[in-house]
C-alpha cells in the first residue's frame, strides 16, 4: 500500500518521531561516549557501563527500585483486579459511580498532591518512612491503572462462561480461579507490567514518601544530575530505557494475544 504515503505524511511522521525520540537517541549515543565530557564525542566505548558496577550507591538504588516495583506491582495487581471485578460484576449498586470515579481519580491527580497527601498520612500514623512507605504509595497510584486495564477486559467477558462453570458444579471462588482468571490473565499480566514500569520510573511520589536507606534509582539519578551530568548516568538511563521498553512490548503482546483470542472465540 503506497496510498497516503505523500511527502507531507512522511515529513510529519519523521518530525513527530524525531520530536519523541531524538532526546532519547542522543542519550543512548552519549552513553557509549569515551569522553568524560558529556557534549564532546570521544569515540565509542562501553567503559561507563563497566564503571556502573563500581558505583555502589547507584547499584543499591537500582536494587531498591526493583524490589519496590515488584512488590507494589504485585499488590496493586491483586487489588486492582478485585476492584475491576467488583465494578463490572455488581451491576448498578448504590454509589457505583462514586466508587468508580474514586478508583480513577489517581489517574488524573497531580503526583505532587498525591505524594504530599501520602506523606501527611504516613506522618500522621507515625509510619517510619522507607521501603514500605514507598511501596504502599506506589500501590496506591498504580492500582487504578491495573483496574482500568482489567476492567476493559472484563466488560467484554462472556458471563455465560462463568454461569456454565457454576452450572457444572463449580462454586464461585473455584469458578473465578479456573475459568475467569485464566481467560483474563493476559490483561492481568499487562496490568502488572504497567504497574511495574510506573513504579520503576516514579520520582515525585517516591521523593515524598521515601526515607533513609530507600533511595530509588530515579531519585539517585536526579540528585546526581544536579551535581552535573556524567556519562555514567547516560549508561544507567540507557539500561533503564531498555528494561522499560522490553516490559512495554511484552505487555502489548499480552494484550494483543488477548485481543486475538477474543476475536476468534466462538460468538
Amino acid at each position: 500500500m503506497r496510498k497516503g504515503l505523500s511527502l507531507f505524511n512522511v515529513t510529519s511522521l519523521v518530525l513527530g518521531f524525531a520530536f519523541l525520540y531524538l532526546p532519547i537517541l542522543i542519550l543512548v549515543i552519549y552513553s557509549f561516549n569515551d569522553s568524560r565530557l558529556v557534549a564532546v564525542w570521544g569515540g565509542f566505548s562501553t567503559r561507563w557501563y563497566a564503571a556502573l558496577w563500581q558505583n555502589q550507591p547507584l547499584l543499591d538504588a537500582a536494587w531498591v527500585t526493583l524490589r519496590v516495583a515488584f512488590v507494589s506491582a504485585t499488590v496493586a495487581t491483586v487489588l486492582g483486579t478485585l476492584a475491576a471485578v467488583s465494578l463490572v460484576r455488581f451491576g448498578r449498586f448504590r454509589g457505583r459511580t462514586l466508587f468508580s470515579g474514586m478508583i480513577y481519580a489517581p489517574l488524573v491527580m497531580p503526583e505532587v498532591i498525591l505524594g504530599l497527601s501520602l506523606l501527611l498520612l504516613f506522618v500522621a500514623v507515625d509510619l517510619d518512612r522507607g521501603f514500605w512507605t514507598v511501596t504502599l504509595a506506589h500501590v496506591t497510584f498504580t492500582m487504578c491503572f491495573v483496574a482500568v486495564v482489567v476492567q476493559s477486559r472484563l466488560v467484554t467477558f462472556d458471563r455465560s462462561l462463568e454461569e456454565a462453570a457454576m452450572d457444572l458444579g463449580a462454586p464461585p471462588l473455584r469458578t473465578f480461579l479456573t475459568v475467569t482468571l485464566p481467560i483474563i490473565f493476559p490483561a492481568v499480566a499487562a496490568g502488572w507490567m504497567l504497574a511495574f514500569t510506573l513504579s520503576l520510573d516514579d520520582l515525585v511520589i517516591a521523593s515524598f514518601t521515601t526515607g533513609p536507606g530507600a533511595t530509588t534509582l530515579p531519585m539517585r539519578i536526579y540528585s546526581q544530575v544536579r551535581l552535573g551530568v556524567t556519562p555514567e548516568i547516560n549508561a544507567v538511563s540507557t539500561i533503564f530505557i531498555a528494561v522499560v521498553t522490553l516490559i512495554v512490548i511484552a505487555a502489548s503482546f499480552a494484550m494483543k494475544r488477548q485481543f486475538v483470542a477474543d476475536c476468534t472465540r466462538p460468538a
Binding site: A164, A165, D167, G169, A170, P171, P182, I183, A261, P266
Partner: protein, 389 residues
C-alpha cells in the same frame, strides 16, 4: 412448510408405545413451577406461571424474544430466583439452592465453551467438580464424546472447531453429568438450516435413548414442533397454550397461538347460528355464510375468528362440486414456489389476501394456476378452527 411429526408414539426399549404421562393423573411431574413470578425492577418477565414437566419428556418453551421463556429456564438452573412462587424438582423446593448444587445442567445458547481448555477438559470440567476418580472421568468423557460423534477431537481447543462441532461439545459437556433435567437454551439457533434439521433428529434420538428429561427454549416454532413431546407457547410471561405439537397446530386456543405457530388465514366473523356440529358465521370479507365444525361453546352473536391453515384451503379453477364446502372467489396475486409446496396469495373480491398452499405432487399439472387467474378457494367445515379469544 411445517411438518408436525407425530410424536405421540415414542420408541422406548425397542417397542413403540404411547408416551403421554400428562394424561395420567397418577403421574407426578418431575419439575414443577408453582405460581412463579419474576420481576426485574418494573418489568415482569414471568407472571404467575404454573407448569409441570414429566420424567423422560422433551418439553419446549416457545415464544418470541422477551416473552420470559429464558427467564423461566434460568430459574430452574438457579441463575435467577423467583420473586414469588416455587420451583420444585422431584419433591425438593429449589429456593435458595445455588446453581452448583442443582442436579440440572444447561446448554447455553452461546455454547459458553471454556476457550482455554481442550474439548476433553471442557467435557471433564463438571465431573472434576464432583472429584470423581480419574479413570471414571476418562471413561465417561470418552463415552459421551462417542455419543456426540466427536471421538478424536479430545485435544482440540474450541477455536479449532466448526460451529456444529462446538455445538456438540456443549451438548456433551451438559450431558456428561447425567442431569435430572437437561436445559437447552436455543440449542440449534446458531446452526445453518441443513445442520439444524440433522441435529434435531439427533437430539430426539439422544433424548429417547438416554431416557432423559429435556427442557428446551426456542423462538423457532418449526424446531419446537419437530422435537418436542409437548410445547408451551408463551407470551408476556404467561403460557398461552400447552399441548402436543399436533394439538397446538390443529387446535390453537387463541388468535395469538394460531398466528404464531405456522401460517394461518384469520377471518374475523360474527356467529349467526348453530347448525348441528357446525357454527355458522358471517364475515365482512366473504359474502357467503361460513360453516365450521366446533365443539366449543359459542354463543350466537359472538365475535369470533376462523383460523384456516393454508394447506387446508383448496385452490381450483372450477367451482367446487361439493355443496357442503365453504368457498369464495379471488384472483391470484402472488405465487411462492417452495419446491415441495407452492403458496398462492389470492386477493378476494373484498381486497383481503388469502393464503393457500398446494403440494406439488406431480412435476406438471394439466391446468397450471398462474398470476391473475380467477380461482375458487374452498375448504371443508372441518378445516377451520373457531377461535373465541
Amino acid at each position: 412448510m411445517n411438518v408436525a411429526l407425530d410424536r405421540e408414539q415414542k420408541p422406548a426399549n425397542g417397542t413403540r408405545q404411547e408416551f403421554a404421562p400428562w394424561k395420567d393423573p397418577s403421574q407426578r411431574p418431575l419439575v414443577r413451577f408453582e405460581g412463579v413470578t419474576k420481576r426485574f425492577g418494573e418489568v415482569t418477565a414471568v407472571d404467575g406461571l404454573s407448569l409441570g414437566i414429566y420424567e423422560r419428556e422433551f418439553f419446549a418453551l416457545l415464544g418470541p424474544s422477551g416473552c420470559g421463556k429464558t427467564t423461566l429456564m434460568r430459574m430452574l438452573a438457579g441463575f435467577e430466583e423467583p420473586t414469588k412462587g416455587r420451583v420444585l424438582l422431584g419433591e425438593q423446593d429449589l429456593a435458595g439452592v445455588p446453581p452448583y448444587r442443582r442436579p440440572v445442567n444447561m446448554m447455553f445458547q452461546s455454547y459458553a465453551l471454556f476457550p482455554h481448555m481442550s474439548v476433553r477438559d471442557n467435557v471433564a470440567f463438571g465431573l472434576k467438580q464432583d472429584r470423581l476418580p480419574k479413570s471414571e472421568i476418562a471413561a465417561r468423557v470418552a463415552e459421551v464424546l462417542r455419543l456426540v460423534k466427536l471421538s478424536g477431537f479430545e485435544r482440540r481447543k474450541p477455536d479449532q472447531l466448526s460451529g456444529g462441532q462446538r455445538q456438540r461439545v456443549a451438548l456433551a459437556r451438559s450431558l456428561v453429568k447425567r442431569p435430572k433435567v437437561l436445559l437447552l437454551d436455543e440449542p440449534l439457533a446458531a446452526l445453518d438450516k441443513k445442520l439444524r434439521e440433522e441435529t434435531q433428529f439427533e437430539l430426539m434420538e439422544l433424548q429417547s435413548s438416554l431416557g432423559m428429561t429435556f427442557m428446551m427454549v426456542t423462538h423457532d416454532q418449526e424446531e419446537a414442533m419437530a422435537v418436542a413431546d409437548r410445547i408451551a407457547v408463551m407470551n408476556h410471561g404467561c403460557i398461552v397454550q400447552m399441548g402436543t405439537p399436533a394439538e397446538i397446530y390443529e387446535q390453537p386456543a387463541t388468535r395469538y397461538v394460531a398466528d404464531f405457530i405456522g401460517d394461518v388465514n384469520l377471518i374475523e366473523a360474527k356467529v349467526t347460528a348453530r347448525d348441528g356440529r357446525n357454527v355458522v358465521m358471517q364475515s365482512g370479507i366473504i359474502a357467503a355464510p361460513l360453516r365450521a365444525a366446533s365443539d366449543a361453546e359459542v354463543a350466537v352473536g359472538a365475535d369470533v375468528a376462523l383460523a384456516l391453515r393454508p394447506e387446508k384451503v383448496k385452490i381450483t379453477v372450477r367451482k367446487p362440486a361439493d355443496a357442503t364446502e365453504n368457498f369464495t372467489r379471488g384472483t391470484v396475486a402472488g405465487i411462492a414456489y417452495l419446491g415441495d409446496f407452492s403458496i398462492f396469495q389470492v386477493r378476494l373480491e373484498s381486497g383481503q389476501v388469502f393464503k393457500a398452499a398446494r403440494p406439488n405432487v406431480t412435476r406438471f399439472t394439466d391446468q397450471p394456476i398462474t398470476w391473475d387467474d380467477r380461482v375458487f378457494l374452498s375448504w371443508s367445515p372441518e378445516a377451520g378452527v373457531v377461535l373465541t379469544q
